[in-house]
C-alpha cells in the first residue's frame, strides 16, 4: 500500500439559494480509482484537508458505468460523467463543481427536471394503440435501426446542455438532446405518424431556430450522439413543416 493521496477541491452548497463554498480533501490513492470511488472514500472519512470533520459531499450516481446519466458534473472545469473519470488521467488537484446550467440541489447534485419536461413537450414516445398482443412491429432495415440506435442511447445526462452557449439557467432553449429525440421518434415508422406534432413543439420559443450551431454540444456528449446531424436534420424537417403550415393555412 502506498500512502499517495489525491488532492480534491470541491465546490459545495448546502441548499438551493444558499452561498457556495470550497473545501479540499486528500483521498488515498488506489489504482483505477474514478471520481465516484473517491467521493465514496470521502463518505467513509469526511474530513477536510485541514482536519475538520464535515458532512460528506453529496452527489448523484447510480450505474457507475456511464449508462444511467445521473453523475454529470464539472470535473476540472469540464462537464462529463464522474463514474468514467479515472483519476489517473486527471490533473491534480482535481476540482469538482455542480453543473452551472441547472439549479443546484445540494453540493454536486442538480435538478434536471427541465430535460424531462422537454421530453413531454416533444412527445418523445411512440403512440402505441395499447400493450396487448397485436402482433409484430413494423419491418425496418437494420441500417435504419442502427441510425436510431445511436440516437436512442441518450441518457439525459445534460452534458450537451451544460456546454451549449444558448442554453442558460433561465431561458427556455430546449437544447440538442431534445432535438435529437425528435429525430429519433420521427425516424420510426409508427413514430413518424405524429411527426408534425413534434416538429411544431420545436418550432416555437426555445426551439430549433435558437440554436446557434456552435456545435460544442456534440463534442461533450459522452455517448457520441450525432447531435450536429440531428440538429441539421430537425432544421430541415421544421423548414418543410413551416412551408407546409403556410400552404395549408
Amino acid at each position: 500500500m502506498t500512502d499517495k493521496k489525491i488532492p480534491f477541491k470541491i465546490k459545495r452548497q448546502d441548499k438551493p439559494g444558499s452561498p457556495s463554498y470550497w473545501q479540499t480533501f486528500q483521498v488515498p490513492y488506489k489504482p483505477f480509482a474514478n471520481i465516484i470511488s473517491c467521493l465514496m472514500e470521502i463518505q467513509r472519512n469526511p474530513t477536510t484537508q485541514g482536519g475538520k470533520t464535515v458532512a460528506p459531499v453529496t452527489w448523484d450516481s447510480n450505474c457507475l458505468e456511464e449508462v444511467c446519466g445521473s453523475c454529470t458534473m464539472l470535473i476540472n472545469g469540464k462537464v462529463r460523467q464522474a463514474c468514467t473519470a479515472l483519476v489517473d488521467n486527471l490533473e491534480k488537484p482535481i476540482t469538482l463543481e455542480p453543473m452551472s446550467k441547472f439549479p443546484v440541489v445540494r453540493d454536486l447534485q442538480v435538478n434536471r427536471n427541465r430535460m424531462f419536461e422537454n421530453l413531454k413537450k416533444v412527445k418523445a414516445w411512440i403512440d402505441i394503440d395499447g400493450s396487448h398482443d397485436i402482433g409484430e412491429g413494423a419491418l425496418m432495415a437494420d441500417s435504419d435501426r442502427a441510425k436510431r440506435y445511436v440516437m436512442s442511447e441518450c441518457m439525459t445526462c445534460g452534458c450537451c446542455l451544460e456546454a451549449c452557449p444558448q442554453f442558460t439557467l433561465n431561458n427556455s432553449f430546449m437544447g440538442a438532446a431534445t432535438f435529437n429525440q425528435v429525430r429519433l421518434f420521427n425516424l420510426h415508422p409508427t413514430g413518424s405518424m405524429n411527426k408534425e406534432e413534434r416538429l411544431d413543439a420545436v418550432m416555437g420559443e426555445g426551439g430549433i431556430t435558437d440554436c446557434g450551431n456552435a456545435q460544442v454540444c456534440v463534442e461533450v456528449c459522452p455517448k457520441n450522439i450525432p447531435l450536429t446531424e440531428s440538429i441539421a436534420d430537425i432544421g430541415r424537417q421544421t423548414s418543410w413543416q413551416m412551408i407546409k403550415n403556410i400552404l395549408i393555412k
Binding site: F32, N34, C63, E66, I126, Y149, S152
Partner: protein, 646 residues
C-alpha cells in the same frame, strides 16, 4: 365496487415497475410511481446482452416449451413450473410489444428481429439492441409511462424513498410510507395496493455489478414487517466482470454468445503478451470440459470453473485472479454493431481496447434469484390464470412484489437474458390480478381510519429522528464496506459451513456495532445519511437471511455450491438414465446391472437429496433473526433430474 378509479402505488422505476404502471393505466387505473431518483436512471439500464423469447427466427426448431425446459433446468428445478412456463409462452408477445414501442432491436436482412445465443441454451433465442438492451427497454417503457403522466393517468414521485407499508388492524396493506429525499418530509400514500418493484439486494456484498440503489432495503422492510422472504441464499455470481474499486462492471454474456472465448495460458505465470501466445499454449477450459455448450454453459457452471482455474489450479493470468475473455478474432465492425456498449465500458475503465487485446475478467456478484415470497394462481393448462388476485402477492395481503424483488422465476440459478423478461412479464401480467384483488376486498382503503396512517407515519418519523441522533463512532459507510467484505469472503461461489458460521458471527458483530453508528450529516435538506443508515440496517438483516439460508442448506444446487455435499455425478452419466430409473422404480424392477457402475447409487443419492432439499427456503423475521422453514416446489410439468451441460 368502488366508484372511483383503482389506485396503486408502485415503488421502483425499473422494468417491472414501469411495465406495471403502463398496463395499470391502460386498464383505467391510477398510478403513483415512486422512484429513488429520476425515472429513466434505474438499475435495469445496466442490463446489456438481451431478452429471451423463443420466436424461432432462425428456423432451429425452438419453442416456448424448450425455453421453459432450459429455464427450469438452468435453475436446477427450484422454480415453480407453471409460472416459468407462462412467462416463456408470453415472451414472444412481449418482444413484439417492445419492438412496437420503438426499441432499436438489431434486425435481420429482411428487417425482422435478429436473435443471438446466450448461456444455458443451444438456440438463438435472445433479442438484443446492441449491448445496451436493458437501457433501450427501460427507455421504451419510461416513454410510455411519461406519456401517461403527460395525459394525467399517472404521477411520478421522483427523489422519494419507500420506507414501509401501512398495515391496517387486520394486517392488510393500505398504503405506503414515503420519504421525500429533498425536503426530508415523511408522509403516507393511501392505495388499493402497493407494489414493490425495487430490484435486487446485491449492495449487501458492497462490490457487485449492481447499481448504487440496489440495497434491497424495501424488500427487507417488508420482511421486517412480517412478509416471507424466499430463497435468499441463491445469489448469482456472473462469470465475467471487470474487477474494480467501487463496482465490478459487467461484461455481458453476449460477449460469449457472439463468439467470445474464455482461456488462460497453459503455463502458469506466462508473461507473454496474450496475442503472442499460440493456440497450442492456451487452455480453453470451458470448451474442453463442456464440448456441447462450450463457453455458453450457464452462469453458475462458468463461475465455478473460473474460480477453480484461478484458485485450485493457480492458472490465473499473470498469477492474478483473472482469466481472458477473448473477442479479438472478430472484426471491429461486427463488435461495434453487436457489442458496442460493452466494448466502450471495457475501454473506458481499463484503458485497453478489447477489440485488440483479450479482456481480463473475473466473476462478480450479480443477481438475486431469491426475493420476497410471492404467490400465484395456476390454471388448468399448466399456465397462470392472469386474473388471479394471488399473482405476485407477498404474504402480506395487498402488498405485491415484481421483478428482481420477487423470487419466483429463476430457481437456483438464472439463465442469461431471462431477467429482463421476468421483469417485464411480471409487471404486465399482474395488472389484472391487482384489479381483481381490489374488487375482492370487503372494506376499501377509503374506509380505513386515518389513525392507521398517522401511526405509520409517526412510527417512521420517530425512527428517522432516532437515526439522526445517532452519535457513536462508527461511520456507516465504512461499516457497509465491512459487511460487504464479510459476505464476499464467506458467502460467495464456494461455500462451506465453517465460513458460513464465521460470517454469521461477523454479521452479529456488525449488527452490534451498528448501534454505535454516527449520523455524519445533520442537514435537514437533501441529506442522504439517515436514509443510508436505515438501508444499512436493512442490509444487515438481509445478510442474515442469505447467510442462514446458505448455512442450513446442506446440498449443492445451482448457484449454491457446497463441495462437502456434492453428489459427485459420474462423468459418463446421462440424465435420461434418471428418467429410466424412475420408470423402472414405478414398476418395481430396478437392477443395478441395467446402469453403468456407480450410476444407480448416484441416482439414489440424487433422489434422496431432492426429497430433502428440492424446497423453497422461506425466511420469516422472528426474535431479531430469520426463522427458516421449507416449502414444496411446484414441479408438476417437468420431472426434476440431474443437470448436465457437456
Amino acid at each position: 365496487m368502488l366508484n372511483r378509479k383503482k389506485k396503486i402505488v408502485i415503488i421502483g422505476g425499473g422494468l417491472a415497475g414501469l411495465a406495471l404502471a403502463m398496463k395499470f393505466c391502460e386498464r383505467n387505473g391510477e398510478v403513483t410511481i415512486v422512484s429513488y431518483q429520476a425515472l429513466k436512471r434505474s438499475h435495469s439500464v445496466c442490463a446489456q446482452g438481451g431478452i429471451n423469447a423463443a420466436i424461432d427466427a432462425k428456423n432451429e426448431g425452438d419453442t416456448p416449451e424448450k425455453h421453459f425446459y432450459d429455464t427450469i433446468k438452468g435453475g436446477d428445478f427450484l422454480a415453480h413450473q407453471p409460472l416459468v412456463r407462462d412467462m416463456c409462452f408470453q415472451a414472444p408477445a412481449i418482444i413484439h410489444l417492445m419492438d412496437r414501442m420503438g426499441v432499436a432491436f438489431n434486425r435481420t436482412g429482411e428487417g425482422h428481429l435478429d436473435f443471438r445465443r446466450f448461456g444455458g441454451t443451444l438456440y438463438n433465442r435472445t433479442a438484443f439492441a446492441g449491448a445496451t438492451t436493458g437501457q433501450q427497454l427501460v427507455y421504451a417503457l419510461d416513454e410510455q409511462v411519461r406519456r401517461n403522466i403527460h395525459d394525467g393517468n399517472a404521477t411520478a414521485l421522483e427523489w422519494h424513498e419507500y420506507l414501509g407499508a401501512v398495515l391496517d388492524s387486520e394486517g392488510i396493506c393500505r398504503g405506503a410510507v414515503i420519504h421525500d429525499l429533498k425536503t426530508d418530509e415523511i408522509y403516507t400514500l393511501a392505495a388499493d395496493a402497493v407494489v414493490l418493484a425495487t430490484g435486487g439486494p446485491c449492495q449487501v456484498y458492497g462490490r457487485s455489478t449492481s447499481s448504487v440503489v440496489n440495497t434491497g432495503a424495501a424488500a427487507t422492510t417488508a420482511y421486517l414487517q412480517g412478509a416471507k422472504y424466499a430463497n435468499g441464499e441463491f445469489i448469482q455470481i456472473h462469470p465475467t466482470a471487470i474487477p474494480g474499486q467501487d463496482k465490478l462492471r459487467l461484461m455481458s454474456e453476449s460477449a460469449r454468445g457472439e463468439g467470445g472465448r474464455v482461456w488462460v495460458p497453459k503455463k502458469t505465470n506466462d508473461s507473454r503478451d496474450p496475442k503472442k501466445i499460440p493456440e497450442s499454449d492456451r487452455y480453453y477450459f470451458l470448451e474442453e470440459k463442456y464440448p456441447l455448450f462450450k463457453n455458453l454453459v450457464p452462469r453458475d457452471v462458468a463461475s465455478r470453473e473460473i474460480y477453480d482455474i484461478v484458485y485450485n489450479q493457480n492458472m490465473g493470468v499473470s498469477g492474478e485472479p483473472m482469466v481472458y475473455l477473448d473477442l479479438t478474432h472478430k472484426s471491429r465492425e461486427f463488435l461495434d454493431n453487436r457489442l458496442g456498449g460493452i466494448m466502450d465500458i471495457y475501454t473506458k475503465f481499463t484503458g485497453v481496447d478489447p477489440r485488440e487485446q483479450p479482456m481480463k475478467i473475473f466473476p462478480a456478484v450479480h443477481y438475486s434469484m431469491g426475493g420476497l415470497w410471492t404467490d400465484y394462481g395456476p390454471d388448468q393448462q399448466g399456465l397462470i390464470e392472469h386474473g388471479s388476485p394471488k399473482n405476485q402477492m407477498t404474504s402480506i395481503k395487498g402488498l405485491f412484489a415484481a421483478g428482481e424483488a420477487d423470487y419466483q422465476y429463476h430457481g437456483a440459478n438464472r439463465l442469461g437474458a431471462n431477467s429482463l423478461l421476468s421483469c417485464i412479464y411480471t409487471g404486465l401480467m399482474m395488472a389484472r390480478g391487482i384489479m381483481n384483488y381490489t374488487d375482492s376486498l370487503e372494506k376499501s382503503v377509503d374506509d380505513i381510519p386515518s389513525t392507521i396512517f398517522d401511526d405509520a407515519r409517526n412510527h417512521w418519523k420517530t425512527r428517522f429522528n432516532e437515526i439522526r441522533k445517532m452519535d457513536g463512532n462508527e461511520n456507516p459507510y465504512q461499516l457497509h464496506q465491512q459487511l460487504g467484505e464479510t459476505m464476499l469472503a464467506n458467502v460467495l461461489i464456494v461455500r462451506d459451513n465453517k465460513s458460513l458460521e464465521k460470517a454469521t458471527h461477523a454479521i452479529d458483530d456488525i449488527e452490534a456495532r451498528f448501534k454505535n453508528v454516527k449520523c455524519t450529516d445533520s442537514s435537514d435538506w437533501a441529506n442522504p445519511s439517515p436514509s443510508f443508515i436505515n438501508q444499512l440496517f436493512c442490509m444487515i438483516h438481509l445478510s442474515k437471511i442469505i447467510t442462514k439460508g446458505a448455512l442450513m442448506r446442506d446440498e449443492f444446487r445451482g448457484s449454491h455450491y457446497k463441495p462437502d455435499f456434492d453428489l459427485n455425478q459420474p462423468k459418463d452419466f446421462d440424465p435420461h438414465e434418471y428418467i429410466d430409473y424412475l420408470e423402472q422404480k414405478q414398476y418395481g424392477e430396478i437392477t443395478d446391472n441395467k446402469f453403468p457402475p456407480g450410476h444407480l447409487d448416484y441416482m439414489k443419492r440424487f433422489e434422496e437429496n431432492n426429497k430433502k432439499w428440492l424446497k423453497t427456503t422461506v425466511a420469516q423475521f422472528k426474535d431479531n433473526k430469520p426463522d427458516i422453514t421449507y416449502e414444496e416446489v411446484n414441479t408438476s410439468l417437468i420431472t426434476p433430474r440431474p443437470r448436465k451441460y457437456d
